[in-house]
């Protein structure tokens, strides 16, 4: 069984983001970048399936600028066999990412696509479902447990009401939630070994993908700040302050 895993280069989750002064976006120059944490969970799950003998090959893919190669090197060091980098100077929005991934799926013919449930930069959370739609494949989003048996995946999903179980026929797209696993740390020897693995680079034109019109981003601004609060020293003061606000 072959698994395709997508990874995205994003601003590290610990960074306090800064806005560009002209309101056109978020500063990424000179900022620590990392692999989207949900994508690392997807990759870890693929590697565990391979370690249990349930997968034969893992292909990591990314769509992004040349620097995103770093994310593929990490994926190769973690355990992917091969990597494909669709190089695009400008970030694409989810529908176009899904179109590009559709073309990659047709080329690679995986049995399973594992993806993070959302990227922590744009917080869209759309690409896995869009990819499943374009391929007319089943989808199982927000997975916290994946069990494979034959050509069926049984997925436990973290939903607002609790935990849902869904069975999907393969091939399928599964998006991963936080509690599916804890990704391993990459060891130095693995980084060395990963240098020998290949990263194929492609352009959107080479894949024959025609991009569709995206949302027009007019501005990126700071959220409304909450007014400054106050400290109290005792529980009595806390109760009094709550009563003053009419909050109790």
């Amino acid at each position: 069984m072959k698994i395709l895993v997508s990874v995205k280069r994003v601003v590290d989750y610990n960074v306090r983001i800064q806005l560009k002064p002209d309101g056109s976006g978020v500063l990424t120059e000179g900022v620590k970048m990392s692999t989207n944490p949900f994508d690392e969970i997807a990759l870890e799950e693929a590697i565990r399936l391979k370690e249990r003998g349930m997968a034969s090959e893992i292909v990591a893919v990314t769509i992004g600028n040349p620097a995103a190669q770093e994310q593929l090197r990490s994926a190769l060091a973690m355990g992917a066999e091969r990597a494909v980098h669709v190089v695009t100077p400008i970030a694409v929005q989810p529908l176009n990412a899904a179109k590009i991934l559709t073309a990659l799926v047709k080329r690679e013919a995986p049995d399973l696509v594992l993806m993070g449930k959302q990227a922590i930069d744009d917080d869209c959370g759309q690409t896995p479902q869009m990819l499943a739609a374009l391929l007319a494949w089943p989808q199982a989003t927000f997975a916290s447990r994946i069990e494979l048996a034959g050509r069926t995946a049984t997925v436990t999903r973290e939903i607002d009401a609790g935990l849902e179980r869904l069975a999907v026929d393969l091939p399928a797209v599964i998006s991963t939630d936080l509690r599916l696993n804890e990704p391993r740390y990459i060891k130095l020897p693995d980084i060395m070994k990963a240098r020998k693995k290949t990263i194929e680079t492609l352009t959107i034109a080479e894949l024959g993908v025609e991009l569709s019109e995206e949302l027009n981003v007019l501005a990126v601004s700071a959220p409304a700040a909450r007014r400054k609060g106050k400290r109290v020293g005792t529980v009595s003061e806390l109760v009094m302050a709550l009563k003053e606000k009419g909050a109790l």
């Binding site: 601003v11 989750y13 306090r16 983001i17 978020v26 989810p94 529908l95 922590i120 930069d121 917080d123 869209c124 959370g125 759309q126 690409t127 479902q129 869009m130 499943a132 739609a133 007319a136 494949w137 089943p138 989808q139 989003t141 927000f142 916290s144 049984t154 999903r157 939903i159 607002d160 009401a161 609790g162 849902e164 179980r165 869904l166 999907v168 026929d169 399928a172 939630d177 936080l178 569709s212 019109e213 949302l215 027009n216 981003v217 007019l218 990126v220 601004s221 959220p223 909450r226 609060g229 106050k230 020293g233 529980v235 003061e237 806390l238 109760v239 302050a241 709550l242 606000k245 109790l248």
Partner: protein, 313 residues
């Protein structure tokens, strides 16, 4: 003029409050038609509830055994078959809407807007990015498909009386996805986290599953729901559906009381719209104090019993 289709979220018995909030978003679009699609196995009660939501002009019922559970791959082709003539398709930005709407948008070949938090015009909207640390203003063309951030809209009232229409669609439904069951976590009869007026919340500082009982007791005293930070869920103190934050639930209670929650930006993303935020933490430098309206540096195990005592007095 706008014609809005809202996909009703329900559990087979009740419409979610988030659906009434999505109707409020449609009202903000100043639409000439606000129609609610109720897909269900048995839809009568649900349709009647949807018809009462103020601002709704029409309820469309699609009853089918396959619609008993909201399987995105089953529901999406039906919504796509209904979509013609609408300018907007909306659903709540809950796990339900987040699962379903991108699939619908992709089938329609249009982008999707996630977590719509403010209507500027019928085609311009605001939405949060980077865990709410930045706000993006976007403009869409063509049919607009969006999930509505529930915490940004107040639910509409229930004094409406819209007509109900049954429709039968001839759509081929896929059989590749099967619903096996839902394990609902017991909230112990407490109010629903996403609609409660008061939320008591705990983080890693609570220390154990057993210690969370103290929060449940305080919540009962206050008639509050109970939430948690990711750290508390990861540690197994509470089930996943109690998680508040960027990737959990986004809530807007009048009062949010956080005990032993450090306040990672991912958690703060879930509580920005709360009326009053109270933080109790041993660490005076915990980031939660930066957003708290009232902060108390102290041991939650001393504060909670004292708070209970004073509330009883």
């Amino acid at each position: 003029m706008s014609r809005v289709l809202i996909i009703a979220e329900h559990d087979g018995r009740q419409l979610s409050l988030s659906t009434a909030r999505a109707v409020a978003c449609a009202t903000a679009l100043e639409a000439e038609a606000v129609e609610v699609a109720v897909l269900a196995g048995a839809a009568d009660d649900l349709a009647q509830r949807a018809a009462k939501l103020e601002g709704v002009t029409h309820v469309i019922v699609i009853e089918h055994p396959a619609n008993q559970y909201p399987i995105a791959a089953v529901w999406a082709p039906q919504i796509v078959a209904l979509a013609e003539g609408y300018s907007h398709i909306l659903a709540p930005s809950t796990t339900f809407g987040k699962d379903l709407l991108p699939r619908i948008a992709a089938c329609l070949g249009v982008p999707q807007i996630s977590d719509l938090m403010k209507v500027i015009t019928a085609t311009r909207f605001e939405r949060p990015i980077y865990a709410g640390n930045a706000i993006e203003t976007v403009e869409a063309h063509g049919i607009i498909v969006a999930t509505v951030r529930s915490a940004s809209f107040k639910a509409v009232g229930e004094s409406g009386a819209a007509p109900i229409e049954r429709k039968t669609l001839s759509v081929e439904l896929p059989g590749h996805t099967r619903f096996l069951g839902v394990q609902a976590s017991s909230a112990g009869g407490r109010p629903d986290l996403q609609s409660a007026r008061i939320v008591v919340s705990g983080g890693r500082g609570v220390g154990s599953k057993e210690n969370f009982e103290r929060l449940y007791a305080l919540a009962e005293r206050l008639g509050a729901a109970v939430g948690a930070s990711r750290a508390a869920v990861d540690a197994g103190y509470v089930p996943n559906d109690m998680q508040v934050g960027q990737t959990g639930k986004i809530i807007a209670p009048d009062l949010y009381l956080a005990f032993g929650v450090s306040g990672a930006i991912q958690h703060l993303a879930g509580i920005k719209d709360a009326g009053t935020i109270v933080a109790v933490n041993k660490d005076p430098d915990a980031p939660i104090f930066e957003v708290a309206d009232i902060g108390l540096v102290g041991d939650l195990f001393e504060v909670i019993p004292e708070l209970q005592r004073q509330l009883q007095a």
